[in-house]
């Protein structure tokens, strides 16, 4: 853990309140997903983002609408904060045609062209080369867009990580690599999977500008991300952020968590990014109780509306099973 105090409240309390609200949207949405999974409304593998909200909230708030995002199977929060409709996300997990991918993808494979959200990828490190390619296209077309690519620290051991770092740096591509270091890849602790655990140092080895950030402090994340995004957009080549965070819940819904101590989890829970920022704002008098209650009610209402939307969803006709294997000519 780095940093011991709570998050610093930004110069602008209104903006800090907004970041808090965004984190809360993810928190409540994910809690609902867990509930719906237990009720077998959601099936397959599901991975929630609880504890890591500051990372997506801080980074995504710095992107422009025409930037691109590539994420992993733990991507509900990224999709939500990128602006994908919450109802469409949930309907996707219900397997309904109203879902953002018509029920073809499920929890691990959310996509949304409208927000340039390129997934949802259930192959660890599988998204990194895609991000490199998206950025290559932007560079070749002379557009000043940024591609933000999220991945866990487990992905750093894959060859695709290394090949992507090198390509992005070699070709000076506009990619922001966001490594969500939550210390465990399933049951494998960072120290058991990396000979060099300073991940920013690895990226730096490829001549990628890199630094580590307290991923439990949304203000710090946003500040670092803004600096990196600005530099990438200005032609400064790829940047890498190691966002030090923690997954409060199990890896997936099947994980008995044999690999970590309850005390360790408890210690990290004290750094809950949502309660910490709430506490700082409240202490500074920047978040009256009535306002906080209003925010919570609005967030709960959004989640409830998403559930209602998903509940009202319909299965795609089975006759359409083999659609989308090839592009439908003329339909595009």
């Amino acid at each position: 853990m780095n940093g011991d105090a709570g998050p610093r409240v930004a110069a602008d309390p209104a903006h800090a309140r907004e970041l808090l609200r965004q984190m809360l949207r993810v928190r409540r949405f994910e809690e609902k997903c867990v509930e719906l999974y237990s009720a077998t409304k959601i099936r397959g593998f599901m991975h929630v983002y609880i504890g890591e909200e500051a990372v997506a909230a801080g980074v995504l708030s710095t992107l422009a609408p025409d930037d691109a995002v590539v994420a992993t199977y733990r991507e509900h929060g990224h999709a939500l904060l990128r602006g994908v409709d919450p109802g469409a996300i949930l309907a996707e997990m219900y397997g309904y045609q109203e879902g953002c991918c018509r029920g073809r993808g499920g929890s691990m494979h959310l996509f949304d062209a409208g927000t340039r959200f390129y997934g949802g990828n259930a192959i660890v490190a599988g998204g990194l080369p895609l991000a490199v390619g998206l950025a290559l296209a932007d560079k070749m077309a002379g557009r000043s867009r940024v591609t933000a690519c999220f991945f866990g620290e487990g992905a750093v051991a894959e060859g695709e990580f290394h090949e992507s770092m090198n390509l992005a740096a070699l070709w000076e591509l506009p990619v922001l690599f966001c490594c969500e270091n939550n210390l465990y890849a399933m049951g494998t602790a960072l120290g058991r999977s990396e000979s060099q655990t300073d991940l920013a140092l690895k990226a730096a080895g490829y001549e990628v500008a890199a630094w580590a950030v307290d991923g439990m402090d949304v203000i710090a994340v946003e500040e670092a991300a803004r600096r990196a995004v600005d530099a990438v957009r200005a032609g400064g080549g790829p940047h890498f952020l190691e966002l030090r965070t923690y997954r409060f819940r199990a890896h997936s819904m099947y994980d008995p968590e044999r690999y970590r101590e309850k005390a360790e989890v408890a210690q990290w829970l004290e750094r809950d990014p949502v309660s910490l920022l709430h506490a700082s704002l409240a202490a500074a008098g920047d978040l009256p109780d009535t306002e906080w209650e209003r925010v919570q009610r609005a967030v709960d209402a959004e989640v409830q509306a998403a559930v209602d939307f998903a509940e009202a969803g319909t299965p795609e006709p089975v006759e359409e099973l083999t659609r989308f294997v090839y592009s439908e000519r003329g339909a595009q």
Partner: protein, 326 residues
Amino acid sequence: MKTTYREAIRAAMREALLGDERVFLMGEDVGRYGGCFAVSLGLLEEFGPERIRDTPLSESGFVGAGIGAALGGMRPIVEIMTVNFSLLALDQLVNNAATLLHMSGGQFNVPVVFRLTTGAGRQLAAQHSHSLEGWYAHIPGLRILTPATLEDARGMLGTALEDPDPVLIFEHGSLYNVPGEIADDAGLVNIDKAAVRRAGADVALITYGGTLPVVLESADRLAAEGIEAEVVDLRVLRPLDDAALLAAVAKTHRAVVVDEGWRSGSLSAEISARITEQAFFDLDAPVGRVCSAEVPVPYARHLELAALPSVERVVEAVHKVVGAGG
């Protein structure tokens, strides 16, 4: 004694680890996590981290290291979580494991065993659900096993470890929880031959792995209407047991191949071709096939089910070949 498919594989690994100190297990989360499908649960505690070796997420690296360790005299069991992830290691499997013996003019054999989960049915969508064992069966130099029964789950691994060459064992994810009885002294089984799981004279149903239960259920359904199916469990996808295929066709004169892989360029195509090449005049009807729909496996339950071989589709295919010809 009572066991499950999962426990039978674990017992096979335990026996191998106890019996030969060159044997070790490596793969992602096989140790502390207990195995992503809990197959290796408890082995770390019994055998320690040297022999139950957690690897980083580095499929190409540790698969290649397994091949290297085999060259160096060890007998590695390498677990790859799912066949979809084995694609990251395809280079090592196809360009090294399968070729070294031949390229070295017979000097370097590679005695390594890979265990992989395969198959759909659990709503894991298109990056976790494919059945690519038929693809691997395309590769000379590899032996491809698909245990479908508790005896084979218990017995194939040990025999595979005695094989001087690389063996891939595909475990269908829907089988892990299958319970049943197994002989207390259940041990090694052959890894050359197909097996007849049900005798019948009207049609041969040829299948393997996770589809065997579907086919057996189909055979029951057909029996109720008076059609007796002979069910052939391939067990070994490479090298194929041609004699068993031909014997079944000589007996029944009709055949349907049931394969969770896709139809185009597939194992089912190969089997159909072999039957046609070698037993054309035994056939009373064209060989039928039931395969997965030609689509990446979708997440939605109803779409996934519609994509996979089912009892209904097998029965329908049998009706077609039984109704046809004389």
